[in-house]
């Protein structure tokens, strides 16, 4: 049982089904570790690099020609806000992985601007993750990761890398930016895996 803070009652903005420690927001907060990269579309590409050093690449036109989905999902940031029912438009990772041959278990996602984050490959597949270019029917703003970002709604939002550039498949796990800076390696909001060791 935790310690009661005398006189604290809380506001209890209940938001349906929130993971522990989260509160509901209606706006869209922005969190990142440095300035916002700007990536011109004619130089944009997305790549998957396999453990066998094979690279699959998509230009912006090729990406936009893939079958689109519009997932509506809840997102949970480790800084405690959650936003429910956000709608995105983009391509399921399953589509990108159709022709990728791999036995790797781990993925290191990397971004324009140098950001990285790691997760087990299976957390990107089977309809669990997307590369998206729109939010709420509008082109994704640079500060929210535009032109394209990853969305992995079942993990804390830092795993949903903004300005995504590629995914490196690895036989061994390789911690990314926040994972090396004291945050949890996996980041399940329902188990409150915020920091290393949680």
């Amino acid at each position: 049982m935790s310690i009661v803070s005398r006189g604290f009652r809380g506001r209890r903005r209940e938001g349906g089904d929130l993971p522990p420690g989260q509160y509901l927001v209606e706006d869209f907060p922005v969190l990142s570790a440095g300035p916002t990269p700007r990536v011109p579309l004619d130089r944009w590409e997305f790549a998957i690099d396999t453990e066998a050093e094979q690279t699959h690449r998509w230009s912006w036109e090729e990406f936009m020609a893939l079958p689109m989905q519009t997932p509506t999902v809840d997102i949970h940031c480790v800084t405690k806000w959650s936003k429910l029912g956000t709608t995105w438009e983009g391509v399921s990772l399953d589509v990108f992985f159709e022709d990728v041959e791999t036995a790797a278990e781990y993925a290191l996602v990397y971004s324009y601007g140098g950001y990285t984050t790691n997760l087990p490959l299976e957390d990107l597949l089977d309809g669990k993750a997307w590369i998206v270019h729109s939010f709420d029917g509008e082109e994704l703003a640079p500060q929210h990761g535009g032109p394209a970002r990853l969305i992995v709604p079942h993990l804390y939002f830092w795993k949903s890398a903004k300005w995504v550039r590629g995914i490196r498949l690895l036989n061994e796990d390789w911690p990314g930016f926040w994972e090396t800076a004291g945050y949890h390696n996996y980041g399940d909001p329902w188990r409150e895996q915020r920091y290393e060791g949680d």
Partner: protein
Amino acid sequence: MRRRLAWQAARLHEIRAETATARTLVLDVPGWPGHLAGQHVDVRLTADDGYTAQRSYSLAAPADGDRIEVTVETVPDGEVSPYLTEVIEPGDQVEIRGPVGGWFVWRPESKAPVLLVGGGSGIVPLMAMIRVRRQADSRVPFRLLYSLRDEDHRYYAAELRRPEPGLDITYLYSRTSPPGSARPAGRLTVADLAEGGWPADFAPDCYVCGPTGFVEAAADLLLTLGHAPERIRTERFGPTGD
């Protein structure tokens, strides 16, 4: 072995008014392991029926043994900050865990010049860096650009008024400048950063902290001035963006 960051009981030792809406809380946390300037703690409040809320607050000063400081700005209609600035009294308890964050930190061993750019309560972790610099007798040159609404919203006013060798401070008022100021009140501009900051070829480490819109704008202006993205570290105090 990885130490799990456990929730620890913290007792309010003392509370100091910084402005009409901001308070510095001095807390005793038995067994506090120490921290770096720029790190934060998570504060958890529990109501008597078990309802809890948690938020992050930057550490405002180097640790003094088991004693730590945070500075909290009241967010009107907020859930946690009004409790911390208006309700809590010395002797009351909250829970904290930390220190957290290993990126937005300044270490006194570092030799690069430092540019601090703070907006509103974003001054808090920057103040921790200034205090650590002083405590360590570091001679690394610091420049602080502090954007604030008006003089009444100035944190740490007395302490920052004392001259400190190697620390230059520029106040940038966004709503009302004090009488006689040359700079009209307004948002941070590229000229402010060019005048009050360091030239990009000095390769300073830049720390930008404040509300999202402020951080976004300041980081973009630093890029415009030629600062390398990897030298610009940002900390955004959610939840609301501009």
